[in-house]
Amino acid sequence: MTLSRIFKRLEGPQTMGKGPLFWTAFAVVLAIALAYPLFADGYDVGNNIYFLNWTFMALGLSIIWGYGGSLSFGQTAFFGVAGYSYGILTINFGTAYGLGVVAVLMAIAIAALFAAILGYFLFFGRISGIFLGIVTLSVTLALERFMAQTAGPQWTVGSARLNGFNGMSGMPPLTLPWFGGDIVLYPDIGLYYLVLGLLVIIYLGLRILVNSKFGNVLVAVRENPERAEMLGYDIRKYQLGGFVIGAALAGLSGALYTSWGQYITPSSMGITSAALPIIWVAVGGRSDITATLIGTLIVLSGFQALTIYGSQYALVVMGLLLVCTVLLAPKGLVANAGILLGSLFNRKNGSA
């Protein structure tokens, strides 16, 4: 496939937003995001990387759930697996000579492998619908319980102590190899640009992916698995593929989060944490990655703002938000807004 044909896939039936207006808006938002560190304190910029870290996991869930139709509650499990993997690898081997980047890639690979094994049993056992949700949630809870009981000194991998419920800390931050010395990425402007760059690449890459044959078949499976199967597609492979891609993205979030905060705890996989990505994606609009991305950032900022009053209040609001979204706007609030905007714009143009 030539490059221009790949770029054509940036727009297509599976993504909202097309034409010059959308891409102008995209460029404006990107420019604001790029210019933001110029007007802000490095410390604030470093803190705000927090929001970007989570978007990968949400985008992954959008692929698994929104596009593939498999409701998975396992995203935080893959997040945790990758986070702990990053911690164990970097504490043992350090981050010099590009080993930090290798650790991130390994962490993602481990999360993806875990997802592939779990997904094999699920999808090739033809588990779908609510059972898929329950099993993935059970795996996540079991993993949390497992990590929570690793407090004893026997739970060490090399020189890394897992540290039970209190979580693991003290892993080095991400370090990039560079000519004339490594660049250590503390939560500051450098890391912000790295994560933002990753986000842009992955967002555009996913747009291409979902508009490609793979994405179209995935949506066909979501719409009607039997029909897709009758058309000759092995739907299990597509579902598994989507599941592993989504898990790898959750793994990226986990590795980035751990290197950003130099900290990971079992509760990042618990039932409350597992609910949060579902809420971001459901509220945003699961079957579109743009809506998911915008929704995730909005809900996360809202959640952070409410946390000032105590995280329990914020979580009650999150619960209400989820119930209301499901009852009133099942497609997601941002997605509904997008559809509305789209129809307004088309009407103005006199074309449909």
Partner: protein, 290 residues
């Protein structure tokens, strides 16, 4: 340890695991089997029953009565939630999972706000007895008896009463039942209420053995899910045999390698079971029937 002691100890551990699985799962299984809805707020109904039981004990009610109060209260709350939320989502089972998860977040965090991170519980009654050199709790025997009683009671309710007949008719052919004059909405509300009340009963009866925290429901929820998934849609030919099967796995692994090994064993058992029997034990037993 002599043979008798080992035997008693194994039977006791099996019974304990069996009781825990049955009691954790029965409320979830009734709601899932009858309505196809997985109630993710199941753990919170358990917590609700436990809290209400402790309140009732503190008001001076004797424990058995307090447990009944807790159970009824959870059932009432369940019926309200069915009316407000779940009812609108019967045609969208995946969305009902999400909505009940939202309810679960609201309930556990709301409890945290109202009653704080922990509450004084009630002590475990009835004391213990000795076999050989080992000590066993009488209360655990009560739990085992309750598990069996609950299964029997459910069997009687759904097979021998008018409500049971109407409920099963509603499940099998909702439109036909409704055409014949059954108020199907009322049946759904009552069934959900029964499921929630069973969860509340579990919470109440386990309350004396646990620390009262708002997230106590999560202790039960994994076991409940696992049992329901392995069991499949039917409470009697699914949940009960699944609980026997899983109790063997859990009890043997727990006594061999500890609590966590038991839980991981359960999880592996469920993953293998769904690979082999996608419809659970129910599907296996009903194989060949249409």
């Amino acid at each position: 340890m002599d043979f008798v002691t080992t035997l008693v100890s194994s039977a006791y551990q099996f019974g304990d695991a069996f009781a825990f699985l049955v009691l954790s799962a029965c409320g979830l299984a009734v709601i899932f089997g009858m309505m196809g809805v997985i109630n993710l707020a199941h753990g919170e109904f358990i917590m609700c029953g436990a809290y209400m039981t402790v309140f009732a004990v503190n008001w001076g009610l004797p424990l058995p009565l307090a447990i009944i109060v807790g159970s009824l209260f959870a059932g009432l709350v369940g019926m309200v939630i069915e009316r407000l939320v779940v009812r609108r989502l019967y045609s969208r089972p995946l969305d009902s999972i999400l909505a009940t998860w939202g309810v679960s977040l609201i309930a556990s965090q709301g409890t945290l706000i109202l009653f704080g991170p922990t509450m004084r519980g009630v002590g475990t009654p009835l004391g213990s007895f000795m076999v050989g050199s080992l000590s066993f709790s009488y209360y655990r025997l009560v739990l085992m008896a309750t598990a069996i009683a609950v299964l029997l009671l459910l069997y009687l309710v759904f097979n021998k009463t008018r409500f049971g007949v109407l409920a099963r008719a509603t499940i099998q052919a909702p439109h036909m039942a409704s055409a014949l004059g059954v108020d199907t909405n009322r049946i759904y509300t009552l069934t959900f209420g029964i499921g929630a009340a069973l969860a509340g009963l579990t919470g109440g009866i386990y309350a004396p053995t646990m620390t009262m925290i708002p997230t106590m429901g999560t202790t039960f929820i994994m076991e409940a899910f696992v049992t329901v998934v392995v069991g499949g849609a039917d409470v009697f030919i699914g949940t009960a045999p699944a609980a026997v099967l899983l109790a063997v796995v859990k009890a043997s692994l727990t006594s061999w390698q500890g609590q966590l090994a038991g839980q991981i064993g359960l999880l592996l058992a469920v993953i293998i079971t769904i690979r082999l029997l996608p419809k659970g034990v129910t599907g296996f037993i009903l194989k060949g029937r249409v």
